[in-house]
Symmetry: C2
Subunit: 338 residues, 2 copies
């Protein structure tokens, strides 16, 4: 029986917010494997703000998705067939999957997932790239000291929630900025943040001044725009700003630069960009440490799982409207019964 | 005989470019010294872009000048009278002088100047705060490695010229951005920069791409605005941006933030602010090293000296119109004949 692969390919480069017609939802039969290849049935697809950037033309840290190509995505799947000695049928693997039902891989960059450690979706969230981003961005770039005040934006998102919890584990005060009452409640009550600021109903600059009377030591930025400016206006001397993302800007035609960046001079502060891929050789150690914190109940992982590959365009937009709490992903299929 | 002190006091907080009427030019008799005080006859006054910031209300790294107070300035003078055992009549000293002819000090922050090392004006330029700013900003914040490409804006200014020359001494390529043909000629022919970009006649982004084919490793920013954006657009991976000033912005009502700051993420780069006062305990060592480079002919110091205290408002504006080459200062008086 020939398998049919449904997939989203990039149809056009969006201006502003992407829409369904920027992709083509198509199907094609799955071809035969060559030597060294394996066939993966995709179970979960990770939805990430970075996907918006991959749709743009131009130089970045990674080449843009080519028009006509399967939309780039990280995912988790199960090996259906293998002509690669490193992978066995039935194993779960994570890596680049694309927004589709099946993918054929040569195994490059694929990691075997051990489901005894955590449920599958956790390997796309806290134990996956988002968790690694939070871990290395905070600890390696932000370099928090015990007693520091750590502020994170998009704090109820996949990266932000881990940043705040790891800050607490490291003996810091954690202050989260998020949109809406429910997200703020989640930060305070479920995740143990020390303070939460609702940017939809509060003046963030003023709220940060109140929540951080001695200033911000580490600001982990996922959003850019006016919230970055509010943080810059409240830095402590020697502060570190981790530039991880700028989701408020990804769909804008013109980026908004932080007008008060001279606060870096006044406060002898620094702003530094980070990319998780640079830490690939340390992912294993970080995942083991994070899994330990999860087992000890110090680190909670939350996933926001939407069913059905076909929902991809609309589900992706939930990231930009701020509707999700926790790691957003699509469940494409259930594991193969064996 | 009673001495009369002429002085500029702050009359109002300017909006945009300062004008003569933002100060009052007045006079008053010099009072008697109290115990512990010394009277300094001011010989040279340093004109610095930072003076514009000191005129603004609001929190910064230093309190604003109070309305009615003598305008803050660094200067060099000679001790006329001393009731302080640390200072003797006839000695030359540098420190905060204010924009005036005489000042009374308790000696705090004053340094004795040794005229055997260099002529007096050099202690306000290469061996003074501007030289120290270049030295510590480049070496401590920029951390250039031999072979790195170092780019500096306002390169023909007092700080920029030292940055480029120290970069060369440290085995780097030095690329200067300055306004006008004569400044570019000065950088290339007199100071030994490897490349010079005339922002008045060239597209800086494109010119940087040509002058720095492997990208910018260290960018020392004195100007902000679009030139900072041009540098951000040409960073090498792991680049360091030293935020030293933003002279293009000091007279603007609304600061222009760098719209492409996400280049920090793409290039895993950092942007860090520095203030020279933090390095006070290392000024002595730095000045000795710089004096050695000057004696060896590796480091040239150029001063742009305007005669007459009364010219202060118009002379200060030359900084913002970019008219000066080298360190701008006012000669208030000649040394006392002894």
């Amino acid at each position: 029986m020939t398998l049919i692969n449904h997939k989203f390919t990039l149809a056009s480069r969006p201006v502003g917010m992407p829409k369904r017609t920027d992709w083509t939802y198509g199907e094609e039969p799955v071809r035969e494997l060559a030597d060294g290849e394996l066939l993966i049935k995709i179970l979960f697809i990770s939805l990430d703000p970075a996907m918006r950037g991959w749709m743009n033309e131009g130089k970045s840290y990674i080449a843009p998705v080519v028009i006509g190509e399967v939309m780039r995505a990280l995912g988790i799947g199960q090996v259906l067939e293998s002509r690669n000695s490193r992978f066995q049928v039935g194993q779960f693997v994570s890596g680049r999957s694309g927004v589709q039902e099946y993918c054929i891989s040569r195994g490059d960059g694929l990691m075997v997932v051990d489901t005894r450690i955590a449920p599958l979706p956790v390997f796309l969230s806290t134990l996956g790239m988002t968790g690694m981003t939070a871990y290395f961005g905070l600890l390696d770039t932000g370099r928090p000291e015990p007693g520091d005040t750590v502020v994170v934006s998009a704090a109820a998102g996949a990266v932000g929630a881990v940043v705040g919890q790891v800050a607490k584990i490291k003996g810091c005060r954690a202050v989260g900025i998020a949109g809406g009452k429910e997200k703020c409640r989640y930060l305070l009550e479920d995740l143990g943040f020390d303070a939460a600021i609702d940017y939809k109903s509060e003046n963030v600059t003023r709220a940060l001044r109140e929540a951080c009377p001695a200033g911000i030591n580490v600001y982990f930025d996922n959003v850019g725009g006016e919230i970055l400016e509010a943080a810059l206006a409240n830095l402590a001397r020697g502060a570190r700003i981790v530039i991880c993302g700028a989701i408020s800007q990804y769909n804008s035609a013109a980026m908004h630069g932080p007008r008060n960046y001279m606060s870096l001079l006044v406060n002898r502060a620094m702003m530094k960009g980070m990319l998780v891929f640079d830490y690939a050789d340390r992912f294993g150690d970080a995942a083991r440490e994070m899994a330990g914190w999860m087992a000890a109940g110090k680190l909670k992982s939350r996933e926001d799982i939407v069913e059905g590959l076909a929902t991809f365009p609309e589900t992706l937009l939930r990231l930009f409207s701020g509707e999700n709490i926790g790691k957003l992903m699509i469940k494409v299929a259930g594991p193969q019964s064996t």
